[in-house]
Amino acid sequence: MGKKKNVKYWQNFGEYTSSDASKVKENVEFPNSLLFEAEESAKEGKSFLEKPAPRRDFLKYVGYGTAAATIAASCKVPVRKAIPLLDVPEDFVPGLSYNYATTCLQDGQNISVVAKVRDGRPIKIEGNEECPITKGGTSATVQASVLDLYDGYRLRYPLAKGKEATFEEVDNAINGALNANPNNAVLLTSTINSPTTLELIEKFLAKYPNSRHITYDMDFEGATLIAENEACYGRKYIPAYRFDKAKVVLSVQCDFLGTWLNPIEYANLFATGRKIDEKNPQMNKLIHVGYLPSLTSSNADDNFVMKIKDTKYFLLAVYNVLKGLPIDNIIQDSKQKEIVLYVAKQLNDNKSKALVVAGLHYNKFRVLVNAINDLLDANGNTIDWSTSLNAYKTVGNQEFQALVDDMLAGKVSTMFFYNTNPVYSLRQSDAFVKALSKVNMKVSFNSKLDETSVLCDYQIPDHHYLESWGDVELKSNHFSFLQPTIYPLFKTRQFQDSLINLLGYNTPYADYLTEYWTRKLGSQDEWHKTIQKGIYYIDKPGYAPSVQSKAEQRLQEILLSWVDEIKKIDSNKFEIVLYKKIGVPLTYQSANPWLHELPDPITRATWDNYALMSPQMAKNELGIDISDRYQADRYETNPKKPVIQIDVDGQSFMLPVLILPGIASNVIGIAMGYGRGASSSVNSEVSTDSTIEIAKKRLGPGVAAIGFNIFPVLKNSNFDLWLQNVNIKPVDKKYKVALTQTHNSYKNIQYGDRVEVAKEMTLADFIEKPSEILEDREKEYKPYGGLERYTEDATMYHPYDNPGIKWGMNIDLNLCNGCGACVVACVAENNIVVVGKDEVARYHDMQWIRIDRYYSGEDTNNTKVLFEPMLCQQCDNAPCENVCPVGATNHSSEGLNQMTYNRCIGTRYCANNCPYKVRRFNWADYNGADSFPDNQREVLSDVVMYMNTDLPRMVLNPDVTCRSRGVMEKCTFCAQRLQQGKLDAKKESRPLETGKDGKWDVKVACQQACPTKAIVFGNVNDKDSAITQVRKDNPYRTFKVLEQLHTLPNITYLAKVRNATDVV
């Protein structure tokens, strides 16, 4: 902590350099003119404020206002109908929510979930706490998946040759063609883990000779992993990585907390090693080596940034050290050598308790990773071969190439696509499209008219998972089930039913499934119980016998050719690295506005992809030196970012630039999954306005044509998602990127410099002096009666009386990894609006909880990152309450800082006075509740208008008011859940339970969504509640944000502890 005092924490470059803009922000919370808009108006010859509002306009407004008021006043109260259900389902109470267990399917990943169904509509997804894998955890994408059900751009009926048709017509046409030519059919699907579906596919293959089933995922993560596991260990699957058993984890550009394989499970397991017992503090250690920042690198205790070439040498050197071989011939740089020795020592000291994982760009290096894991005795300890993760079974590139060749040669007569979109995501999609035209009949079961579907002859759209029956084998012997939670919205049909139809059976899939599982489980009763629980597993304790490894042997075979290959990498040239973004799945959810508006935890940007580069590269190539405060301001305050032209492999395209610490100096990072249908206007050469319009009509406005599709640029045929020999040059263009990074500043002239918003310390310091933070707080409060009495003694107001309940929350910064699941959960629960890119760029983002990202340290090229969820602190001495002229925000006897929307007149004094900057103002009528649609058209973007149409509005939570224009809003601690929880307890005439013996009446949305259980919520007055327990167990790390202001927050945080030598 002594060292810590000097650490500089900064949220953005402006703060880092103490630039003018950041100082302006400190003084004026809501500037009258946004700096960048003022600049633009100045260019037009008039200032933003001087736009004339002449007498005529005034009269117009008065005239219109009077007329409108007259008309509005003469409107009658509408007559509303109350229509009872005719045939009431048993045990159904209208207006109450019911939970149904099902399984969320997305991009080859399957998560057991519970859907909350309200009056026949699923409105919220929660994790299934019965599931032993995710334990009730979710991710941002899982949380957002409910909105996809109400996607107005799903295909609403089957199509035959582009025209609407009935199922019968389409079936007849397909069956006719198949009977005429039954050979050489190909079923191209994403990974299917459903035992019944696989059985059906087998039957299909048996019926049609020479037909094939090929698995192709957007996400190729699994392909080489599985292939290399087979080569090294003779096991063709992904084992269970036991992050909970590992004392040291080395991640080589592997984002297992965010996007790698099964991140919810891994985050959960990893968090078990991060949880600190204050009486006996110890924790695991995460070392990250790589060239691109990710959730994992941000959470690493030690993060070493190096070029791609160096990471490859690094891995080899670590192997050599562990093997006892010299490394001088591999690594010359002394600093690099130091890192290798340090990492190797950490691993070696924790043999059998260490784990090495490598990411997507290391396909060839899997052998090396396997060999290192062998040396560390990881197999059978931190790698469990007894269970396999059933995901990402995509075929290798060669197999796929063979398919394309067959198609070209006319050896494929019929092709079926299910949940896969190769035309969009394949690197040689041109060749694939050409080959596809040689196939006689193409049928798509995709739910949208996407890039592949549109080329097919027949489209039979599949149900959304919330409308489907099904079963999924998550891991070996772990099954999760799907049951419909809503009657299908459109004329769609489940893929399995289509398959049954092709087979000529008569049983619907639901019956087939029931029959299969009744047979397997023994009785109908058992099956009903299972489907209610949603999960069925056979728990096999113990590990598989240690595996025979051939990794060593394989390594020796290819080592020399590798070293040659590495030598050839020119690390002076630029390289492009592709990465998956958290919250932007590659295909199925790419039209989800909630996810697009979720700020990326790393860049804090929304709605786009961009070229990430290091400050050093920006300085050299673009002449932007962000350590210079003027240049930092110029780059940062204006959302219009500089654009570069990138030339690679004879192709050239343009992308806006974001400068980010933690990237290797020659690497440009570009996110995949963007540019659906067409690329955005930054590349006017690639897409024209008309192609963008077409894409918007097919895939949804405001979500299609966002960002740039990088897949077509990948011409090389291996699975390494990186491109070498890249040239870049700045172009005279600017492109708007909506960053939320600079939106909230804690610096303020009243409150002084922002110190200690987040607290962290090293493990060594914590062991040496655990009471450091506690002592600081005691010192702070000494003049006001000490920690015991300060709540009463330090204020002239009467402390609030909480006779029954006092709600409180605790957030463990050690467990929070910044994944953003809570943000989307909050959006879904509380009807938070989507405002669109332009509004986000104007600081009008509306999310109630945000994950603040802090950098620490002076070296902008390699910094440490700290995530801190920030939401309304529900202060007992709230600065916002005192300044409201109409009493719209006031305090409740349960310790809540209440916000009454219908009372608010929109002065925004409260937001000005909030030191935490968690209040959100409705600058426009985002809900469309109060205005005629035409009045919004010019003001709000397409996507906001779309979200106000009938279909997406079905996802709204009826328990929460939709806020209209001119109203302030903020986190309410999910007041609707608290009220419901209390009522449930009252109905049963018992006290409220918040965590006593694992019983919960109330969980707030962010708490329930969190995969690592970093958020604990409950009744502080209850001495048995979970929140009381957590606070009692962690006296030393507990702090409240900005508590020196005496706001008395009801949220406590637990300081982050880094298992590193220094916090920086």
Partner: protein
Amino acid sequence: MTKSFKVFHKPYLQLILLCFMLQHSISSMAQDGKALFIQNCASCHAIDRQLTGPALEGVLDRWPNKKNLYAWIHNNQAFLKTGDKYANDLYNKFNKTQMNLFPFLTDAEVGAILKYIGDYKAPSASADGGGVSPAQEEAEQRDMNIVYGVLALILAVLAIILMQVNANLKKLALDKEGIPAPEPLPFWKNNLYIGLVSVILFLMAGYFLSKAAMGLGRSKSYQPKQPIFFSHKVHAGINQISCQYCHVDVYQGGMASYPSQCMNCHLAINEYRGKEKIYDAEGNEVNGTNEIKKLYSYFNYTPGQTTPIDYSKATPIEWVRIHELPNFVRFSHAQHVNAGRIQCQICHGDITKMDEVKQFSDLSMGFCVNCHRTTQVQFKDNGFYSMYTKYHQELKNGVLDSTKGITVEQIGGTECGKCHY
């Protein structure tokens, strides 16, 4: 000013009155045969006439064996299987209509019900309600307001005349004394009068304007025409069917829910044979039997049909919604009726006397909050409130008046965030 005072106190007084009634009724619930009868039996049985089930008058005398009767009431289906002749004859006589099962009723409770039936005396026509009905009270109030208004007007005219006379006399007196005095101004030119009148007009206009503005969107006394003339008076009043027999979800859900089980009873009851005539709001007589026929057409049912109702061919009845709160208010029936044990009548008025339902209270925030200030929660009875240890302590040691109990307001029931979120 008298008027505004009255208006302010009116709902207040009624509330106190009704709270009194409520307390009285709750205390007498436990072993009250009448209450048990209304709750369990009244939906199918009346004492003095036949409904879905037989008239119950003299049931104890009819049944050969009291023990058998108890067994029949607890579980009639099981008893039928014993082959008892009387029971099977009865069952066949009523077209094999199944009686509900009451396994949860204790023998003591069944005894209480039977005692009530035995003691029952048909009400005479005049014994209809002892007190003054809210509607009557309201009408009286209105009459009084008119009287007060006319009186005030006469007094005001008198005052002006007197003042004018006074001014004239004053001038005459001055003239007599030889002091020159100006001609008195007529009152319409006198600034004092003009000022006075303007101030009064301004205050009155302001009062009525703000009252009207507050009343926007409120619809007290709203009494729309419903697709079927359903008389609550006949069902809940005369036949004493308990409210939650039709509004089934009132204990569990936020909404009381609208009934869909009309045909449970109306399979058997296909004509209106009540002694009392039914009148709509305009005073026209309504033919009850015709209204039942309307019900049959909604359910696509022909009287005498033996096959069960085909719900796929039925159409739901589109009732006109009467009570509605704005979207930014959260109201839960379960909270009030189940947890709070509030009588329906507190908010809905004496529904048992309404042929055509109208909105009884204005459902304004003032209405809610005033009630929350005075109504007690089930502090001792509901285990939820055991968390309020401080209040329990204070009730014990006398800091809080235990006879007054704990009001909704004391546990935070008047805070914004309890209903607005």
